[in-house]
């Protein structure tokens, strides 16, 4: 019991991250807006569609338009229901930038933002002008409940972070274990080290496949296709091919000691290539993944403290689960081997 505390820990972590990751709601956000034509000094009505918002329960609901610096407060607001509201702005002579952000504030939902919500014609842009200098109300800017941040375009799929990313962490750790034991088996030529090397690849490949599948499903919802021409997607698939090749190489050789040696050599030869594939090449070109090609990283401002409270336990839990399955596979293989020797 004392020796297997980490098994209980990883089971708890994975169950916790799965339940917490799926249970807690998303924080409110602005899903989309509709508006008419923009004319100087005229009224503009903006229909705001909120996500998880409670417009009808708000006491001090306010909407603002923001150009590069300044704020314009809505003159009147008509609340239709919890997720729909109309905000009426009296537009100025000109705006200071081409894109306007929409900001909403309320006591319950906190600060909600839709960036680059309105595009302004060049005719109405004057860099010298700006909006009126309204100020945001000095109140809490966070929603009054525990929830994950709302991501435009991602919606509820942002929960996939707790499943998709830990798979890659697990895979890298398992492949590192494998290359460690491959080196060891070359030096000691012990059969046990070879079993450890191949079994960690066996489970690592499953982690990688799950990572690709969860990623493809996520991509279908956010990028529009299961497989886009994305460097990280492509290279992850290629690095899996490397390890499938390793497994096939093992099948091609019958003699056990020879198989152990040659497979270990290929594994060590392939590992630096996998490092180049997964950590060097994606840095050199653009990717649709967060943190690449001008896309914001999850770490930059999206991964807030509430997400971290689920994400880090999920990573640790899945790495430990992978290691646990690996030890089980090794034990089964060793028992099988012993049985063969007795027969």
């Amino acid at each position: 019991m004392a020796k297997s505390w980490w098994k209980i820990l990883c089971a708890l972590l994975v169950v916790y991250s799965a339940i917490a990751g799926l249970y807690f709601p998303l924080k409110p956000g602005v899903e989309s807006i509709n508006h008419g034509k923009l004319n100087p000094n005229q009224k503009l009505t903006v229909d705001v569609n909120g996500y998880n918002t409670r417009f009808n329960q708000e006491q001090n609901l306010a909407f603002y338009l923001q150009d590069h610096k300044q704020l314009l407060k809505a003159d009147s607001i008509i609340v239709v229901n919890a997720s729909e509201a109309k905000a009426v702005f009296v537009l100025p002579e000109a705006f200071g930038s081409n894109t306007l952000h929409l900001i909403g504030t309320g006591e319950k939902d906190g600060l909600i933002v839709l960036t680059e919500a309105i595009i302004v014609d060049n005719a109405m842009v004057n860099k010298i002008y700006g909006l009126r200098k309204d100020a945001l109300p000095n109140q809490n800017i966070k929603a009054d409940y525990f929830g994950f941040p709302y991501q435009h375009n991602l919606y509820e799929t942002s929960r996939n972070l707790y499943f998709h990313v830990p798979m890659w962490f697990g895979m890298i750790v398992l492949f590192s274990i494998s290359v460690f034991f491959s080196i060891k088996s070359l030096l000691t030529s012990s059969a046990l080290d070879d079993i450890k090397a191949v079994e960690s690849v066996n489970i690592g490949v499953i982690f990688g496949t799950l990572g690709i599948v969860t990623g493809a499903v996520w991509a279908k919802f956010t990028w529009g296709a299961f497989w886009s021409f994305d460097v990280k997607q492509n290279f992850a698939a290629i690095s899996l091919l490397l390890y499938f090749a390793y497994l096939i190489l093992r099948n091609a050789i019958d003699e056990e000691q020879k198989r152990a040696k040659i497979a270990a050599i290929y594994n060590i030869f392939a590992f630096p290539m996998m490092v180049v594939l997964l950590f060097v090449l994606p840095r050199l070109s653009d990717s649709l993944h967060p943190g690449n090609g001008g896309n914001p990283g999850f770490n930059a401002y999206d991964l807030d403290s509430h997400m971290r409270m689920v994400f880090y336990p999920a990573v640790l839990g899945w790495i430990l689960i992978g290691y646990w399955i690996y030890t089980l596979l090794v034990r089964v293989r060793v028992l099988e081997q012993n049985n063969l020797n007795h027969d």
Binding site: L186, F235, I238, S239, L241, L242, A245, I248, L249, A252, I253, K258, K261, I262, A264, I265, Y266, I268, F269, A270, P272, M273, V276, L277, V280, L281, L284
Partner: protein
């Protein structure tokens, strides 16, 4: 024997054997020429992007065939004889150097014939493209030499060679195609320096790992 003389003699032996039979060299040359010609008959004229990609695909398959023979085609008895005479390190170095020379020659001939059939794109930086082809030949040679050694030990020739080498060569191929495309577009040379550096780094890495691992592979 001294280390350097061992390597020199081994390379001389490879060249002599090749010169006597002329089978591999002529075979691979004919392979490249016929592939280019088949491509010409099916494409007739191609865009810049396809020009570059097609060249590297032809070179990929030609070089697998060219380098695969370096270990696969040696008879068991001759292997044993060489192993009693020289150290494994000098054997792998000699094979890699010989394959590099073979690949550079083969690629240059292929490029000449290829740009004769499909016109070399205008505004291309020819010198930079040559640098890319030479870097490419070196990378193909270093990687395929080691993989062919592994595949020959597994005793299951051609197919295993392709399965084992493709995932390893793809990252190199991606960098190569990017580098060659920069050259074709006639971009400023400073843009491509990173890619040349990365290729050199991958080559050094592969060479270092090969030198470390080959002595283990060699012992039977």
């Amino acid at each position: 024997m001294q280390f350097a003389t061992q390597i020199k003699e081994l390379i001389r032996k490879e060249m002599l054997l090749e010169w006597r039979s002329k089978y591999a060299l002529n075979g691979v040359l004919l392979y490249v020429v016929s592939t280019v010609f088949v491509c010409f008959l099916s494409f007739v004229s191609i865009e810049k992007l396809t020009w570059n990609a097609l060249f590297w695909i032809i070179m990929l398959f030609a070089s697998i065939n060219a380098v695969a023979k370096s270990f696969l085609q040696e008879s068991k008895g001759r292997h044993l004889y060489i192993y009693t005479l020289v150290s494994p390190i000098s054997l792998i170095i000699a094979k890699t150097i010989y394959n590099s020379l073979l690949m550079i020659g083969l690629t240059l001939v292929a490029l000449m014939f290829y740009s004769m059939v499909f016109d070399f794109p205008k505004e291309a930086d020819v010198l930079m493209y040559l640098v890319a082809t030479i870097m490419g030949s070196l990378s193909f040679a270093t990687i395929f030499t080691m993989v062919s050694a592994i595949a020959s030990k597994a005793g299951n020739g051609g197919m295993l060679m392709a399965i084992l080498s493709f995932p390893i060569i793809i990252p190199v191929l991606i960098v190569l195609i990017k580098l060659a495309k920069n050259a074709i577009d006639g971009l400023d040379r400073s843009v491509s320096l990173d890619d040349v550096g990365l290729l050199a780094l991958i080559n050094v890495m592969v060479m270092a790992v090969s030198l470390l691992l080959f002595p283990y592979l060699w012992r039977d």
